[in-house]
């Protein structure tokens, strides 16, 4: 729907409305004009106020309160058509600490500010007033339903008491989660729900208020509600919501923690068969085998989750990076895989993507005398020079980022309240930025190919090689095959390949350290990024045999059917120290029958891989046959779910180029020709 069409249908309102209506329209695939008009009419953008809290209060006054769902024991609703007016970037990618939300009533929060008249406190007070208004309006709306007394009790309870039971706790989480989304916070995670809810669950079971079966039903109901507005919640592709539930994990005193709820959540996710919300399981050598079995049962369905994050590696890396020990043990994620500290960090973890292949392309695109590049070392040196320029540019952009004032998050992220400093101004305990990288494998393979074909075997000289590349390897099928089949390549556990990868990774990281110092910003880097397709389109043919515009390699993966153990060994030897912690995920494609026929051995494999030292791992269980069928006959596969980057989605919701790339990778994984 174009801006002009809306204008033509309805006449002028204002540009912001049109933009927002368009966004909503796009996400919901509205099919007819009536819906377009409806969508536009409902759209409201709360006008700018000097006091952000007042704006939030206005929003709470104006929001539609949805009908109560008689099939659910919870209330959850988002008015997709109303939003705050924002001049700057709204902070995204965080998880508030729901543990605190459960333990603290709204009046306790209010008391922190009533006697102060500084700007920060005024904003917070108005915000809390707004939340109160929303609670009261909601209660009024569902008031007639006698069966919904428990919900009303929970909503009332938010004002003046702690959460007092398992269902009550879940309702409170839902309510604040609703507020987060309603106020425009994308990629917001749910945190460690098995740990947070443990006490409430145990008490209710012990005092016979509910059975384990009741708990399972409540969890199911909870997840259905969280899933409800997933198109609205989606970020760049449908399904990319950042709604991550963290399960399991090490504790600095209690060792590895998991409980009934860990299993119940995995069971529920598996049973519901929704792509969203998704789970991340924090794994460790110390975890029980049966939990890994449970995780694999879920992965086996093809849901793409849980993603496995290796506490034995990650926690210590976070501590070394400067995160306090207690906090490092309480990490989570809220987008794909970038670690955040729950309730304490404003980590803008995926603000920019660094395309690692482009600086290499730059060397060879310009009219440079290639004769001076007579060794691999010289090429690498030149590459690093260009790379440095790129990174410095990103550093500058980071320095110029401005965030919208955020009294909502400031309420729930430490230490904003204590410092009376809004999180947008640096009030959080941890204020980090993260860069994602894409194309490391293409870069490494390109450099290795130049070394092997030009300098070692002298099969081709650099000029000719470059000319062929510039001509997009037209009529060069054999050369492409040779380039792609070089035995020295990314993902192979050869010392020379690993050293080269680490050399470049550490180089980037050192440049970033300087930039961090220069701007007094803490910047992290990682080897995973969603941008492999988009950035691929912007990148010309490369020396790894990739043609113009083809996708770049995915996260840490291997582009042929190498043994899984080989890729893990490779990934485990990458140096994740210092600032190189911003998500480093191995991405596997697995055919369903490998797990089916060897379930216990696959559990062994995952457990032993933890010991081996991978950082993070996700498994996409797909068969090429099924994907090809599903692309041809979408109607036959309405529920086929696949892992995309750090999220899962319905295969049918994906753009064609994502479908094609997944099919191509699945075929390669199965050793079939594409």
């Amino acid at each position: 729907m174009s801006k002009d069409i809306i204008k033509a249908i309805i006449g002028e309102k204002n540009f912001e409305h049109v933009k927002y209506a368009r966004k909503i329209y796009k996400k919901n695939d509205f099919e007819n004009k009536k819906n377009i008009i409806e969508c536009y009419r409902n759209t409201m953008i709360i006008k700018k106020e000097i006091n952000k809290g007042v704006q939030i209060k206005r929003l709470c006054e104006k929001l539609d309160i949805g009908e109560v769902n008689l099939n659910s024991r919870f209330y959850y609703y988002i008015d997709e058509f109303k939003q705050l007016y924002n001049q700057n970037i709204v902070i995204a990618n965080f998880a508030i600490d729901y543990d605190k939300v459960l333990k603290c009533s709204l009046s306790e929060y209010k008391n922190l500010f009533v006697d102060s008249d500084d700007e920060f406190s005024k904003n917070e007070l108005e915000t809390i007033n707004g939340i109160e208004i929303l609670i009261n309006r909601t209660i009024k709306k569902i008031g007639d339903h006698q069966v919904k007394k428990e919900i009303i009790d929970s909503l009332n309870g938010i004002m003046d008491r702690k959460a007092n039971g398992f269902r009550d706790a879940l309702q409170r989480i839902l309510f604040f989660n609703q507020i987060m989304w309603q106020t425009g916070h994308v990629l917001n995670g749910l945190g460690r729900l098995d740990l947070i809810l443990e006490k409430y669950y145990e008490n209710d079971i012990a005092s016979n208020i509910m059975s384990k079966k009741d708990a399972a039903e409540l969890i199911n109901d909870f997840l259905v509600n969280i899933h409800r507005f997933y198109k609205f919640k989606s970020n760049s592709l449908i399904g990319d919501t950042g709604q991550v539930i963290i399960l399991g994990g090490k504790h600095n005193e209690r060792g590895y923690i998991c409980n009934d709820l860990t299993y119940l959540f995995i069971d529920a996710i598996k049973q519901l068969n929704y792509p969203d919300p998704k789970i991340l399981l924090r794994v460790s050598e110390k975890m029980p085998r049966k939990l890994m079995e449970k995780a694999l049962e879920c992965i086996q369905t093809g849901l793409g989750c849980p993603l496995l994050a290796n506490d034995d590696i990650i926690v210590n890396r976070l501590i070394d990076f400067g995160i306090k020990e207690d906090d490092a043990y309480n990490y989570g994620t809220s987008a794909c895989w970038e670690p955040i500290i729950i309730g304490k960090s404003i980590s803008q973890n995926n603000v920019f993507t660094l395309n690692l292949l482009q600086p290499l392309e730059k060397i060879f695109e310009e009219d440079r005398n290639l004769e001076e590049l007579d060794s691999t070392d010289k090429i690498i040196k030149k590459y690093k020079d260009f790379l440095k320029d790129e990174i410095e540019m990103i550093g500058e952009k980071i320095n110029n980022l401005k965030f919208e004032k955020n009294p909502i998050l400031s309420l729930f992220i430490d230490d904003a309240v204590k410092r009376k400093k809004d999180v947008s101004m640096g009030g959080a305990v941890y204020n980090n930025y993260g860069i994602l990288t894409v194309g490391m494998a293409n870069t490494i393979n390109s450099i290795l190919n130049i070394e092997d074909f030009v300098f070692k075997t002298k099969k081709i000289d650099l000029n000719t090689f470059n000319e062929k590349r510039k001509r997009n390897y037209s009529e060069e099928q054999d050369l492409i095959k040779e380039l792609k089949n070089n035995k020295r390549k990314y993902g192979v556990d050869r010392e020379d390949v690993i050293n080269l990868t680490n050399d470049i990774f550490v180089y980037i990281s050192n440049i970033l350290k300087d930039i961090s110092k220069k701007y007094d910003k803490c910047i992290k880097i990682g080897l995973s990024s969603p941008a492999y397709i988009d950035q691929g389109k912007l990148t010309n043919a490369s020396f790894d045999g990739r043609k113009n515009g083809e996708p770049l390699s995915v996260h840490i993966s291997s582009d042929n059917s190498n043994a899984y153990t080989e890729l893990i060994q490779f990934a485990s030897k990458i140096d994740y120290n210092e600032n190189r912690i911003n998500g480093n995920v191995i991405d596997f494609l697995v055919t369903p029958n490998i797990i089916q026929d060897n379930f216990e051995k696959f559990v062994d494999f995952l457990l032993l891989s933890i010991k081996n030292g991978f950082y993070e791992m996700q498994l996409n269980v797909v068969s090429s046959d099924m994907l090809i069928e599903a692309k041809k006959y979408p109607d036959k596969f309405p529920n086929l779910i696949v892992r995309v980057w750090g999220f899962s989605a319905y295969f049918n919701d994906l753009p064609q180029d994502y479908k094609n790339y997944l099919i191509e990778r699945a075929l390669k994984n199965e050793g079939k020709n594409y």
Partner: protein
């Protein structure tokens, strides 16, 4: 010391207990018509052509180099896995690789062979010192047909089985199934006798597949059209074996 192999395959889940690395040696003393690895029959390196791609099956690898490759996944052997020597007939190389076996044994690496077991007893005896786990094929058991079709000596086979049992080795029997060859009334009855005699508790059966067609073509070998079993036949055989109180797994290889 060098030895000729065609491939080292990591993360093998079907070649013995746990997660394994399988080494394929070149050279075999049998000529099974259904052979799935025809590139491993000849003891010599062989050039091949697939489409317009040329290559060589087989390369010599230094034992220390081979050891290094095998140890790459040693972290994954902790769950009972290890290395499997396959081929071809790996026992034919056993003397050549004995030093490697010795070193791997010192490192507590579990070792397994996939063998047709029709080798002279001297070779088998060397293997007894190192190999813990034997995957043994049951092929054609009649003396004449074994000689005629496979070129093997069935007396040697029976004797070697006796040796393995006396040495209390772990043995997994595997039966490749092909109509007119291993699946005949006579052979099935001989197989059942063998299983009964040694009170086997578990056996794996698998249908012959025609996946090796490209490899045959690449070597300019004539591709033998072998007829595998129908599902009905498979089910029948499975029930017969189960009748002896033996667990049967039908493998999809």
């Amino acid at each position: 010391m060098k030895v000729k192999i065609t491939n080292i395959q990591r993360f093998c889940l079907n070649d013995g207990p746990g997660i394994r690395t399988t080494v394929f040696f070149k050279g075999c003393n049998l000529k099974c018509p259904w052979c799935a690895n025809p590139e491993n029959i000849s003891f010599e390196s062989q050039e091949y052509t697939i489409g317009n791609e040329n290559g060589v099956y087989g390369y010599d690898i230094d034992l220390q180099e081979l050891k290094k490759e095998i140890l790459k996944d040693k972290n994954y052997y902790l769950g009972g896995g290890g290395v499997t020597f396959s081929g071809g007939e790996p026992l034919l190389q056993i003397k050549k690789i004995e030093k490697l076996l010795e070193e791997l044994k010192d490192l507590n690496i579990n070792m397994c062979v996939e063998t047709a077991l029709m080798v002279n007893e001297e070779l088998l005896n060397v293997s007894l010192k190192y190999i813990e786990y034997y995957i043994v094929d049951i092929k054609i058991l009649s003396k004449e047909k074994c000689k005629e079709i496979l070129g093997g000596d069935i007396d040697l086979y029976y004797k070697n089985i006796e040796t393995l049992f006396n040495a209390k080795k772990k043995i997994l029997f595997r039966i490749p199934l092909a109509n007119k060859y291993t699946y005949t009334e006579e052979n099935v009855s001989l197989i059942l006798n063998l299983l009964e005699k040694y009170k086997i508790s578990y056996v794996e059966i698998f249908n012959i597949h025609n996946l090796a067609e490209n490899k045959y073509k690449s070597l300019n070998y004539e591709f033998p059209k072998i007829v595998g079993l129908t599902n009905e036949q498979l089910k029948n055989l499975k029930e017969k074996i189960e009748g002896l109180d033996i667990k049967v797994k039908v493998c999809k290889l």
